[in-house]
Amino acid sequence: MSLQNSTSKFNRWLDVMFRYRKHTGSWAWILHRFTGIGLTLYILVHIIALTGLLKGEAAFNEEMKLFSSPVFLFAEWFLGILVMFHAINGIRIVLVDLGNGARYHKQILVFVYILTVILVAGMGYLIFAHV
C-alpha cells in the first residue's frame, strides 16, 4: 500500500481516528475508554495517598487538610464526572452485552448522559455545601 509507505504508522492511526465517522455509540466508546484510563491512574494515586494512614493521626489529618483545599475539592468534583459516567455507561454496556440492551442502546445512552449530569450536580452540592 502506498499509504503505508508515505506516512508513519502513528499518522495513519490519527488519520483513521479523525476521519472515522463517529456515531452515538462511538462517542460513548471514546468517553468510556478515556474515563477508564483516567480512573485506573487515579486508583493507583488513591492507594498511595492512603498509605498516609500508616504515619499516624497527626500526619494523616495534615494530609486530609491538603485534600480539603479548594483545588483538591474541585479535582474531586471533576473525578466525579469520570466516575459517574464510567459507572453508569458500564451498566449500559452490561445491558447491551448480557441483556437485551442492543435494541435500545441509544435511548439508554441519553439516560446515561442525563443521569451523569444530575449525579455530578448533586455531588457538587455535597462537596461545596460543606465548605
Binding site: 485506573t40 486508583i43 492507594i47 492512603l50 498509605t51 494512614l53 486530609m64 451498566i91 452490561v94
Partner: protein, 120 residues
C-alpha cells in the same frame, strides 16, 4: 485488527474469560462504589477523619470489604488497560513487555493497598 484476530477464538487465550470478568467486576464495583460515595461524600465528617477510618479498619468485615474493593478496582482497571493495549497491533515482544508491566503494577499496588488495610 490484524489478520490473526481469530487465531485465539475458542482457545484458552481468546480473552473471553477476561471479557466476562470485566463485566462481573464492573457490576460489583458499582455496588461497592455506591456505598463508598454515600460514606465518603454524603457524610464527609464521618468518612474522612482518622478516627472514623480507624473505627472501620478495626472491624474484620470492613477489612474484607476494603480488600475486595482494592482487588476488584485494580483488576478491573488494569484489565481495562490490557483491553486498550490489545486493540493495537504491535510487535509480540512489545505486547509481552506491556503485559509484564501491567502485572507488576498490579502486584506492587495490591501489596501496598493490602498492607495499609492489614496494618491495623
Amino acid at each position: 485488527m490484524s489478520t490473526n484476530s481469530f487465531k485465539f477464538a475458542g482457545g484458552r487465550n481468546s480473552g473471553a474469560k477476561n471479557w466476562y470478568m470485566q463485566r462481573i467486576t464492573g457490576i460489583l464495583l458499582v455496588v461497592v462504589l455506591i456505598g463508598h460515595y454515600i460514606l465518603m461524600h454524603a457524610t464527609p465528617e464521618s468518612g474522612h477523619t482518622y478516627k472514623a477510618v480507624m473505627d472501620r479498619l478495626h472491624q474484620p468485615a470492613w477489612k474484607v470489604i476494603d480488600m475486595a474493593f482494592v482487588t476488584l478496582g485494580l483488576w478491573h482497571g488494569l484489565n481495562g488497560l490490557w483491553n486498550v493495549i490489545r486493540d493495537y497491533e504491535m510487535k509480540p515482544i512489545m505486547t509481552t513487555v506491556l503485559y509484564t508491566v501491567l502485572v507488576l503494577i498490579a502486584l506492587v499496588f495490591w501489596f501496598i493497598g493490602l498492607n495499609t488495610i492489614l496494618s491495623f
